[in-house]
Amino acid sequence: MEPGGSRRLSAAELLAARGRKAPQRPRGQKDFIPDGSAEQAEKLRLCREEQWQLLSEERVERLGSLVKAEWKPGQGIVELQSPAGKFWHTMGFTERGKQCLLPEEALYLLECGSVQLFYRDLPLSIQEAYEILLCQETMSLPHYQVFSHLKQLGYVVLRFDPSTVPSPYERQLNLESHCQSSGKHHRKRRRSSSPRSHEKKHKVSEDLPETEGTSEKAGDDSGDTSCLPMDEEPLSEQPKESKAGSGEGESNPVPFDTGQKDSLRPSRSWAGDHKENSTGTHASRWDFTTIILPNVAADQPCTHLPSPDNGLLPENVPGREVDAACWCARINQKQEKLSRKEREQRERESRYKSSVNADWEVRHCSSWQEYKALLKLRSQQRVWKRPPHLWDQVVTPLLRPDEATSSAALLQQISVLQPSHILDGASGLQEDPEGMKIDFNVYQADAVAKFKKTNPGKPYVRMCVRSFDEQIPSLRALKQVTYQSGDVPVVFALVDHGEIAFYSLKEFKLPVDVNH
């Protein structure tokens, strides 16, 4: 058996490697049956030659383009000794002023030929790096294989951190987009087995002007705390963002800053509320005991409308008083002219449809309650004879005709299985420490240009790495994981000794409203 160590490349070979180009792979059609022909043998030989030429190539890089990095076993991270390259845009984090990489990121960059890893002042080969860096519980070989596969496809892959998932309430308020714009969202450090305590996440659902006092760990680059102090702002401005964030949905401040006249009644109550504004609850500013809105409905028609106050009208518009009595008499007098199509439709419908208002019993009802009582009375009076050949047998129909109001109701009555959603009952499940964990957040490849490490946004998908040796997850575990992920879909990456397959659960609804 040949020795397994790498060949040491001579100086000549190193120089030759510089001019290497990626060889073209002849992708011919595969055959089905070996027929012993020379043609097949030749194709096989070519394929193998080319593959081995590729595999036996060692990685050669210019020293200047390699970033030096050192493995720190105590903290389980890799610290960069020289400035990072282009990869810093999507990978790595800063700690105590130094640029650091997670083990999987460092190993991937080593394989790409972007960094040179050192441990105890000696450069590591890729084999040694695999052995040394991938021995944590959270980052074992299958995890790394999934990470590497996704990175090669171009995705941005970060470790999952449960505390950064917004809760359903926060999502409802659309708090996430607000948080990120105000810059007060301090992210947890992306580290797996760090012994240090994690930072607290600050929820902006509390009132804004209070969080500057807490001391945060330095080093997070977005250090600007541009908050919106609510009490200091002049009232004439509209504090839009604080409104959205605090979730107090009562009467919004109406813009009174356009220099309205003082004859406005509401301005008095506004001044009265001025002091209460800072407490957050607002009383209604319109005093309806003094404002009179005329009632032009049919029960007590107010047909005499006085002239409006000149102060309320714009300059060029004159006001006058109106007697609307003659107009009221003329409402609905004009004969309706229907087009031919409408007439035909009406004729068709009149065969089976009748207007509710044509029923004199309905016209006698003066309120909804009376109408509903009438309907109930009618339904009770209806005598429906059950056909004996259907209903007197051992096997009876599932529905009576009056129960089948629509196709959806029909299907509901005869269904054997009830539809259920993966998240039904998921919020009440207890957290299971031995359960499945989400491993990675995956971000789209085409968003790389806009990607910001400090504010990655909502991931495209969350990845859960499993292997075929493990049991198929129970429904309970699936629900927990889906709930934990929030509104981001979860994909399961199954690793089968080097081969990866991706599975996810898709929701679908059977159609219930069938229109003929």
Binding site: C47, L55, L63, I126
Partner: protein, 229 residues
């Protein structure tokens, strides 16, 4: 030579990987990432536990454990570092950035010594948890039998089976069948059987149900979709 680490076997040498494929009909999967301007996959080659066990038991390969993190590797690494670091520069200034550096794939230097006597792979150890597991033992017997008939086998997880059976090298031939090794004795649920058969049909491969009891002769049943009946 391979390094089992919690039951995962990786082959790091290019020559070794080539010999495995050409001489021993063991394919494995390439799992390494390519260098920046490359495409496809590189070393290491990952083997199925069944493949590794077959090679070890037939004497074709040695299973080695990665050295423990302790005094051992330091000494080994230090020795290695002295003899073959990057091109040494005598001056105290930093090496020029145009210097070409090799990032070696496999560990340099002598391989760690093989354990004596060779471990019994039918017993589980921390490094080899597969030994003794009924699923693994079943699959191993089937693998050994099919391999002995001259077929090429790879992992079959993608098609819902245990192995994919090829008439020739997987680089040039399509898989002929998906092999499944159900547990003996227990009745195979019809739903599972239909599901497995459907998967095989969908990709136009035969489903092969395999049983290789320890003491007896192996038995195979093949299922194929007949659209004409």
């Amino acid at each position: 030579m391979g390094d089992p680490e919690r039951g995962r076997v990786l082959v790091w040498g290019a020559g070794a990987a080539r010999a495995l494929r050409e001489r021993y009909r063991v394919s494995g999967v390439l799992v390494g990432a390519p260098p920046r301007r490359g495409r496809g996959r590189r070393l290491p080659l990952q083997l199925l536990p069944e493949e590794a066990r077959l090679l070890a038991e037939s004497g074709a390969a040695l299973l080695l454990h990665p050295p423990e993190r302790g005094e051992g590797p330091e000494a080994a690494l230090a020795e290695v570092g002295q003899s073959c670091g990057p091109t040494p520069t005598c001056s105290s200034t930093a090496p020029p950035p145009a210097l070409l550096v090799q990032l070696p794939t496999a560990r340099e230097g002598p391989p760690p010594p093989a354990p004596h006597p060779p471990p019994d792979l039918s017993r589980p150890t921390p490094h080899w948890p597969h030994g003794g597991r009924p699923g693994h033992e079943r699959r191993y017997r089937v693998y050994r039998d099919l391999w002995g008939r001259g077929l090429h086998l790879t992992a079959g997880g993608k098609f819902g089976g245990d192995f994919l059976v090829y008439p020739g090298p997987p680089e040039r031939f399509h898989a002929a069948a998906v092999a499944l090794c159900p547990p003996p004795g227990a009745a195979l649920a019809l739903g599972a059987l239909v599901a497995a058969a459907r998967l095989g049909t969908h990709v136009r491969k035969t489903l092969l149900l395999c049983a290789a009891p320890a003491g007896g002769a192996p038995a195979y049943t093949s299922l194929q979709w007949r659209g004409d009946l």
